[in-house]
C-alpha cells in the first residue's frame, strides 16, 4: 500500500522536466514487465506452497487400489470418500475431534478469562510489584516445555488426573496464561483512565468496571488472542502425549500419529485424516483472518 501510493505522486514532477510523451512509453512497458515479473515469481512461490496441500486433498479422495496401482505422485484415476469414512469411523478421528474440542474450547475460554482479569488488575491498579508479576507470568510461557514434561506428568498422576482431559486443560491454561496476560496488559493500559474514573464516580466496583467497561473495550485483542490460542491448543501434540495414555482420550493430533501407524501406506486414509485434523483451524483462520494476523503481531514485543 505505502510504496505504490507514495511513489505515484513523485512520478509526474520528475516527468515534467522532460517531454512527457517521450518518457511515458518506456515507463509503461517497464511497469508491465514489473507486474509480469511480480506475478510470475509470486505465483510460482504460491504454487510451491499450495502443491503439497493439493496433493493431500487429491490423495484423500482417491481409492486405495488406485494409489497402489498408479502411485502417490500421479493424477487420480478414481474418486471416493471412503478414506474419510475409514479415518472418521474406524480410525477413531470422530472421537479424537470431539476430545480436541472438549479440551480446546474450555481451555481457550478459561485462559482468556483468567488472563483478562490479571491484565485488568495489573494495568488499571497500583498492584504492588506489578511489573515483576507481569514479567514472572510471561517468563513461565517462554520456558521450554521439556523442562516441565516429567514433573507435569507425575503431578497429574498424583492428582489422579493422569490420562484425563482435565489434566490437559489445566496444563494448557497454566502454560498459556502468562502470554495472554502480557498481551492484554499492553492493550488495556492504553485505554484512557477517564472512562474508568467516570464509572468510579457513578459508584461502580472493580468487577463492574472490568466486566462492563474494560472487557468490551478489549474486544479486538480478545478476538485476536482467541483465534490464536484456539490454533495453538488445538494443534498441540506434546502436552497431550505427556498427560494422556488411552487412545480413546487422545486429541486429533495424537490420533493422527495413531492413524499413521495403523494404516501404514494406506495413503488415502492418512491424507483424509490430515484433512480432518487441519479443517477446524483452517476454518477459524479463514473466518477470522484479520484477527488471526493481528494476533500474531500483537504477540511481538517491540
Amino acid at each position: 500500500m505505502t510504496a505504490t501510493e507514495h511513489r505515484a505522486p513523485a512520478a509526474p514532477s520528475r516527468a515534467a522536466q522532460a517531454p512527457a510523451a517521450a518518457r511515458r512509453a518506456p515507463r509503461v512497458t517497464h511497469r508491465m514487465w514489473g507486474t509480469a515479473a511480480f506475478h510470475t515469481s509470486a505465483g510460482l512461490l504460491s504454487l510451491v506452497w499450495l502443491v503439497p496441500i493439493a496433493v493431500v486433498l487429491v490423495t484423500a479422495c482417491r481409492s486405495f487400489d488406485d494409489i497402489a496401482a498408479n502411485g502417490l505422485g500421479t493424477l487420480p484415476h478414481s474418486f471416493t470418500l471412503g478414506g474419510f469414512r475409514q479415518a472418521w469411523v474406524d480410525g477413531g478421528q470422530q472421537q479424537a475431534l470431539i476430545n480436541s474440542l472438549v479440551v480446546t474450547i474450555p481451555a481457550v475460554l478459561l485462559s482468556l478469562l483468567l488472563a483478562s482479569m490479571a491484565a485488568f488488575a495489573l494495568s488499571r491498579y497500583d498492584v504492588p510489584f506489578r511489573r515483576a508479576l507481569l514479567l514472572l507470568m510471561l517468563s513461565g510461557n517462554l520456558l521450554p516445555p521439556q523442562i516441565l514434561l516429567i514433573p507435569v506428568s507425575k503431578l497429574s498422576e498424583q492428582l489422579g488426573l493422569y490420562d484425563s482431559l482435565y489434566a490437559l486443560i489445566g496444563v494448557q491454561i497454566g502454560f498459556g496464561v502468562g502470554f495472554y496476560v502480557f498481551v492484554l496488559h499492553g492493550f488495556m493500559r492504553a485505554i484512557p483512565p477517564e472512562i474508568q474514573q467516570a464509572a468510579v464516580i457513578d459508584g461502580a466496583g472493580p468487577w463492574q468496571i472490568y466486566s462492563r467497561i474494560i472487557l468490551p473495550l478489549a474486544k479486538p485483542a480478545l478476538a485476536a488472542l482467541t483465534s490464536l490460542s484456539f490454533t495453538w491448543i488445538f494443534n498441540d501434540l506434546l502436552w497431550a502425549i505427556t498427560v494422556l495414555r488411552s487412545d480413546s482420550r487422545m486429541p486429533i493430533t495424537a490420533s493422527l500419529l495413531g492413524l499413521q501407524g495403523q494404516y501404514v501406506s494406506q495413503w488415502n486414509v492418512i491424507a483424509a485424516g490430515s484433512v480432518i485434523a487441519a479443517a477446524p483451524t483452517v476454518i477459524v483462520f479463514l473466518r477470522f483472518q484479520r484477527h488471526f494476523v493481528a494476533g500474531l503481531n500483537l504477540g511481538a514485543v517491540k
Partner: protein, 303 residues
Amino acid sequence: MAVLTANSRARRGRRRATRVPPVVLAFVLVPLLAEGFWVFWPALQGFYLSLTKWDGVSPPQFVGLANYREMLHDSVFHTAALDTVLWLALFGGLSVVLGLGAALLLQQERRGVGFYRAALFLPVVFSLTATALVWQAMYQPDGLIDRTLSGLGLGHLAHPWLADQNTALYAVIVPALWRQIGYVMVLYLAGLKGIDPALYEAAKVDGATRWQQFRHITVPQLSSVNAVVLSVIVIDSLRSFDVVWALTRGGPYHSSELLSTYMYSTAFQSLRLGYGSALAVVIFLLAFGVIATYLVRAFREAD
C-alpha cells in the same frame, strides 16, 4: 504517539488511586496460582530431578551432577546437540531470509497480493503433525518429489529422503520451514508497513539505488522486528518436537535426533527420568539467553 500520551495520563491516574481493592488482588492471584501450579512448581522440580536417578517407580535417588557427566560421553547426546545447533542455524536462518524475502516481494498492495499472502500463510494454521504427514506423502518413493525428479530426467537423485541418515534431518527441516515462513513473513510485513515512506523518498532524491535503500533504510528500520523474529525463532527451534517425532522419531540411527526428541524418548520410553530432566535443563540453558533478552525488552515496554 496517541498511545504514549494515553500511557502518561494512565500513570498519573493510577497514582491517585492508592488503595487496591482485595478483589483486584484476587484477579491477579488466581491466574498466578494456576501458572505457579502447572508451570513454576513443576519447573523447580525439573531442575531438582536433573540431579537424580529416577525410574518413575521407586523414589528418586540424588546423584549430584552424574547425569551431566554422563552427557560428556553420550554419543547420542552429541549428535542431538549438534543437530539442534544445525536446526537452529538452518531452520532459523532460512526462515528469516525467506520470510523477509517473501515479505519484500509481497509488501505492495496490488492486485492478487492477498491471494499470494494467504497461500504462504495457510500452512501456519496446520498442526505440525498434519504438516509432517503431508510431507511424508510427498517424500514417498512413488510420491510427487521423486516422480517429478525422474520426470525431469533427474531420476538418479530420487531418494528415500526420510530413511537415509544423510538426508533425514534436512528432509524434516523442509516441512518445518514450509510452515514457519508464512509466520515470519507476516511479522516482517507489519514491520515494513511501519517504515516511514518519506525515508525512501528522501533516499531517491539523493539518488540512492534500490540496494542502498534496502541496506541503509529497510534493514536498520527493521531492527526491532528482527529482534522479535530472532527470539521467536530460537524459542520455536528449541521447542521443535512434533514434526521430527511424526516423521522420523529422531531416526534412522539418531541421525535426525534433536535434544527435544532425545529428551522425550529418554524420559518416556527408556524411563530414565533423571537423565531426561538433565537433557531438559540443557535445552533450558540454550534458550535462557534469548528468554532473558526477550524479558528485558518486555520489561522496558511495560512502562
